[in-house]
Amino acid sequence: MEILYKNLLAFQWEQLVMILIGCLLIFLAIRKKMEPTLLLPMGFGTILVNIPASDALTGPIKELYEAGIANELFPLLLFIGIGAMIDFGPLLSNPMLMLFGAAAQFGIFFTLCMARMFFSEIDAASISIIGAADGPTSIAVANVLGSEYVGAITVAAYSYMALVPMIQPPVIRLLTTRKERLIRMPYEQASVSKLTRILFPIVITIVVSAIVPQATSLIGFLMFGNLIRECTVLDSLSETAQKVLANLITIFLGISVSFNMTAAQFLKVDTLLILGLGLVAFIVDTAGGVLFAKFLNLFMKKKVNPMIGAAGISAFPMSGRIVHKMGLAEDPQNFLLMHSIGVNVSGQIASVVAGGIILSFFGA
């Protein structure tokens, strides 16, 4: 009869708290639809690794972690799918929009300074990359740097990406006047040739890799996915990358990240602080983009709506849509979507570049 209760008695309160956190992640994924593709596998994995004497922790989840996350493979494969999903058309029509993507990475470097007050240099650098608002980049950078907080960083990155509709609007309203939010930006669609669409991912890969070699894999896999999409002779591969590959990797990524969600690693004051710093990163990213747009307006004849600067964070496509909706709320005839989506995809490129810069500063 002892077999019935022996393992039950081995439960510690910390493990029960972690199982509750796992259930909370599943609840948020299903009920609130917060990044369900990642939070649900992570939540379930958290339950698996916090059962006393769980064979999942020493067996399959550990194997998956070492096969796909410890060596960055899963985030990079996911980037192929993401690259295949992105249409750089709006950005190619107006390349200047990319500057907003650069400005909106300010949160990463501000958070680096904040986090360094509490953490070691390596952990501060890993935490700062939550501001990339890009899950695969956050996981890859934290892993390459060897941070012990990969689990908490992943939870923060994906949770705040899901919370972008709540985080960004108050910051944008606080930093802009109604007059600024009413600025109209007519969209003039420039024709973009097929050759331009094909050359773009190749040129970006060469430029970024040549300057920041630490970002070669990140930018290379993202742009490889985009090249598959744009070449138009690999439609079947493009569709597979966008759907099957991205879905499969997301399942494995979510459940293997939970390898770091044991009570001993997650349940400490450090985790609360990381969640707080992640929020700071998203707020300062948003502020950086908006303030940069306002700064440019000081010199430009044709003013830009400063709200589009906020779309420079990489959370695609939520951030672009939020800016568009805020524009419509102020003026039902103000269509900012193409501009904000252009800025949003530029944020995707800029966040990968920022990840490479962090690696070049603090990597081995």
Binding site: Q105, I108, L273, I357
Partner: protein, 68 residues
């Protein structure tokens, strides 16, 4: 400043200490200033790279745009 930090996080420290979890947190405000150099260099590098990409994209657009 340190007292404020202790006041805010003291409870969490006690919670951590009561369980198996260990914390390696410190509080050194001076480190913020030390990292400002990285902030400046990081933002400069990112704007330079994005600037090069913008110029390259404008060139590609000009060279290979559809003829009307």
């Amino acid at each position: 400043m340190m007292n404020l930090f202790s006041l805010l996080f003291g409870g969490f420290y006690a919670l951590s200490a009561s369980g198996n979890a260990e914390t390696t947190l410190t509080f050194e405000p001076g480190n913020f200033v030390d990292m400002l150099g990285y902030m400046g260099k990081g933002m400069l590098v990112i704007f330079v790279i994005i600037g090069i990409i913008v110029v390259a994209t404008l060139l590609i657009n000009r060279l290979f745009s559809r003829k009307k």
